[in-house]
């Protein structure tokens, strides 16, 4: 009963968001069962139309579109999640360090982040990927590092608002160590804004990876990835075929779903975002 009641309090948009997210997780986890063919397998002619055999037709090399979209869920979402986790660990750690230590530590970290953020993220990523190459580990590191600047900003500002409160001052007067303050005083009070931010960052990273792949410097072929699938099959669009935009739709649905959930969390905790 209580469970039902708590669900009825959730707005329909957020509920829909959760259902969609669970569906994606399911597809990603069981891709090898859901997909009729392998992601690298060439199974037919190039660009064949929708049929019983190939649900969404085949791509520019004759691979099954539907299977690649299913595997794309695992690859694209997996990479984006990994990057978001990395970016969060780095950004939060430095943000909290800056907030607690203050003084020159804060000044130096904030200055460095300001500089990194003053170069447009996409341009910076393109520059770095040109220099360092486009292997998957490089891609993950570069994007995570660039994105961690945003996490740093948020974590630092949330933590700073807490550090000035009397209860943290009382603990500092007691002489508790850095990790104790971070672990017991700050983090428990940062859960809500950080959860919402995780959703926002995930969406951003997800779109960003897709954009890089679309430009040809993200996830590299032959791995099935939604961004590069659009790029590879874009020619079909000029013939009025909607198949190439389906991976784009898959991206859009997931980000909308996550955004709906984030919106609900923010509304619940009285926060807001723009």
């Amino acid at each position: 009963m209580r469970f039902l009641k708590s669900i009825s309090k959730i707005p329909p948009t957020a509920l829909l968001g959760m259902v969609v997210v669970f569906a994606y997780i399911f597809v990603a986890a069981f891709a090898h069962w859901v997909a009729p063919y392998g992601q690298f397998q060439i199974v037919g002619d190039q660009y064949s139309g929708w049929s019983d055999k190939f649900l969404l037709g085949t791509d520019n090399l004759g691979r099954d579109m539907f299977s690649r979209i299913v595997y794309g869920a695992r690859n694209t979402v997996g990479v984006a999640l990994l990057i978001t986790f990395l970016s969060f660990s780095v950004g939060c750690t430095f943000g909290i360090v800056a907030a607690i230590r203050g003084g020159w530590v804060d000044a130096v970290l904030s200055w460095a982040v300001d500089i990194l953020m003053s170069i447009p993220q996409l341009i910076f990523a393109m520059l770095l990927l040109t220099i360092l190459g486009t292997s998957l580990p490089v891609l993950i590191t570069v994007v995570a590092l660039l994105d961690s600047t945003r996490v740093f900003r948020l974590a630092r500002s949330v933590a700073r608002n807490l550090v000035v409160l009397d209860f943290v001052e009382a603990v500092q007067l007691r002489g508790e160590g850095f990790w104790w303050i971070a672990r017991h005083e700050l983090l428990p009070n940062m859960v809500a804004p950080l959860t919402a931010e995780f959703g926002i960052r995930f969406c951003f990273v997800f779109l960003f990876i897709a954009a890089l792949s679309f430009l040809g410097i993200g996830v590299q072929p032959p791995t099935a990835d939604w961004g590069s699938m659009i790029r590879d099959n874009a020619t079909l669009i000029t013939f009025g075929d909607i198949t190439p935009v389906i991976p784009g739709l898959a991206i859009a649905c997931l980000t909308i779903a996550v955004n709906f959930i984030v919106d609900w969390i923010l509304g619940k905790t009285g926060g807001s975002r723009v």
């Binding site: 309090k9 009397d166 001052e169 007691r174 508790e176 009070n189």
Partner: protein
């Protein structure tokens, strides 16, 4: 309308007023439960009550206004024959500003930062078609002069942030007067001001209200203030009527026990302490000068002693440096020069360089219990951690000690497993005290610990502190701006102004009678409970 007789000469008649508010889940619940009000032309009604009494909500409802998240759900609000509870927005808009005006608590927030004061003054009269802009300007200057604002001819051309708090509050009152309304609602207009500023503003308000024969509803939590301003006083609690009487009757012979409790702290007076026995003070501040970020000095050459088992009260208005003094002693703000000594030993200026034992010996209690306790920790952990940290005892031992300490704080034992949000304001402040005592300190710095509390709760906290002091031979450095609190708890008094010590000594020496000129001015500005006090003060000056 109700069948109750409505007096013909009433300006405002409120019957059975009910107001609802929406909580976080979006459900409506009643916060004002059927209140009646009667106000004659030219009469001043005082509305008094503690936090949560619904005073401001009722005051705004008298204008037919409900803040976002509130709604008037029942009753009638009859203003000069018009029912504001059911009137159209247009009707209400025509009345607001023109015939009913409002003075907010924080004038600094209530003035538009992007407009000059005089333009905001003129907006009402011009929009309501009472005066032209030029006439309104002249009128404003005259009112500013009448209200004894400095440079009355030019002050209106300033922007709000260029004018001090006391002046802004007067400008706000002048603005409310601009259309010569029949009724003004004053919502705690002097609560945010220092006492010496407050008396000036009170005098100005009282003068203009009397001059124009304006009726007023004066909302405050301070009985002494309302006694000066109101003809009749109505006491509210939890959105219900408690009692109503003429001001003098209410002050001399309140019917309800609750009303009497509203000035609980004023009844307290600590018995004079025995003279100091030990030569060595627990805490000794020597010639301390301090500044924030190398700018203007906030403390200048401050010296004081706190002896074992005694309470030193530091009094002063905002900006006197009293809180900065606490920060210097605690090691949060290393002084520019001077020393802080504990039992004769010099303490490191910054808390980071102090030994664990030194940190243990000084503990702080804060003003706002809400921000002083971590909302995500149970009371057991909040109070238990200092024990584990300083005394090195096991977790089980700490749990046992916490429950003994909570018992000493007169708190129920099951408090230990609760979060701060599940406790009342007074209980939270007791947890704050328990946390300080858990470290077994010698000196406790109390920073305005009762200022945010209702009188009855404050009385309980003060009594608790005194009992603990006797039992544990504690020394208190008690920072406050209220003389009633000083009388209730202090053995020694330090009076501060602009970062310097004006006077210090035993309470008898400093306050009975006030020794320094500044102390005299401060004490004289504290409103007293008799209704004629403000007049006497003003007459005494001229």
């Amino acid at each position: 309308m109700t069948d109750m007789a409505i007096r013909q000469d009433n300006l405002l008649t409120v019957r059975g007023l009910k107001i609802e508010a929406r909580n976080a889940e979006g459900d409506w619940h009643e916060i004002v439960h059927g209140v009646d009000l009667d106000l004659k032309r030219g009469e001043v009604l005082g509305l008094i009550g503690e936090s949560g009494a619904g005073k401001s909500t009722i005051g705004l409802a008298a204008m037919g206004f409900a803040r976002p998240g509130c709604r008037i759900s029942g009753g009638s609000i009859l203003f000069d024959g018009i029912d504001l509870a059911s009137a159209s927005e247009r009707t209400k808009r025509a009345l607001r500003g023109a015939r009913i005006a409002y003075v907010a608590q924080s004038a600094a927030a209530a003035f538009n930062p992007a407009q000059r004061l005089i333009d905001q003054y003129a907006e009402g009269p011009v929009r309501h078609g009472v005066q032209s802009r030029a006439v309104a300007y002249d009128d404003a200057k005259q009112l500013y002069r009448r209200m004894q604002m400095p440079e009355p001819d030019t002050i209106g051309f300033r922007y709000p942030h260029q004018v001090s708090g006391g002046q802004l509050q007067r400008a706000m009152t002048a603005m409310a007067m601009s259309c010569r309304p029949d009724l003004i609602i004053f919502d705690e207009p002097t609560t945010a001001l220092d006492v010496t500023t407050q008396i000036e503003v009170l005098a100005s308000i009282k003068d203009v209200v009397r001059q124009f024969g304006t009726a007023a509803i004066y909302i405050t939590h301070d009985l002494a203030v309302v006694a000066q301003m109101a003809d009749r006083i109505k006491v509210l609690r939890y959105g219900c009527d408690v009692e109503e009487a003429a001001a003098s009757t209410m002050m001399s012979a309140p019917r309800e026990e609750y009303t009497r409790s509203l000035w609980a702290v004023r009844h307290m007076e600590k018995p004079a302490a025995a003279p100091v026995e030990e030569a060595m003070p627990v805490l000794s501040v020597r010639n301390v000068t301090a500044a924030y970020g190398g700018r203007r000095k906030v403390l200048e050459n401050v010296s004081l002693d706190v002896h074992r088992g005694r309470t030193v009260a530091v009094v002063g208005e905002s900006g006197s440096g009293k809180s900065t003094l606490a920060r210097v002693i605690a090691g949060l703000l290393p002084p520019v020069s001077g020393q802080v000594l504990m039992d004769g030993g010099v303490l490191a200026p910054a808390v980071a360089n102090r030994s664990r034992q030194d940190r243990q010996r000084i503990q702080m209690i804060y003003q706002m219990a809400d921000t002083a306790l971590n909302p995500r920790q149970t009371v057991r952990n909040i109070v238990g951690r200092p024990m584990e940290f300083f005394l090195g005892i096991s977790s089980a031992e700490a749990t046992a000690r916490v429950s003994r300490l909570l018992d000493m704080m007169e708190l129920p034992a099951d408090c230990a497993n609760r979060l701060p949000s599940e406790l009342s304001g007074g209980q939270k402040q007791r947890i704050g005290i328990a946390r300080a005592l858990a470290a077994e300190p010698q000196l406790v710095i109390c920073d305005e610990v009762t200022s945010a509390l209702d009188q009855l709760v404050a009385e309980g906290i003060l009594k608790l502190l005194m009992r603990l002091q006797q039992e544990m031979k504690l020394s208190f450095l008690f920072i406050t701006h209220e003389f009633a609190t000083v009388e209730a708890i202090a053995d020694d008094v330090v009076v501060m102004q602009h970062g310097k010590i004006v006077d210090q000594g035993t309470r008898q020496e400093v306050l009975h009678p006030p020794r320094a000129d500044y102390t005299k001015a401060l004490v004289a500005a504290v409103p007293q409970m008799n209704t004629g006090w403000l007049e006497q003060q003003l007459q005494g000056r001229s």
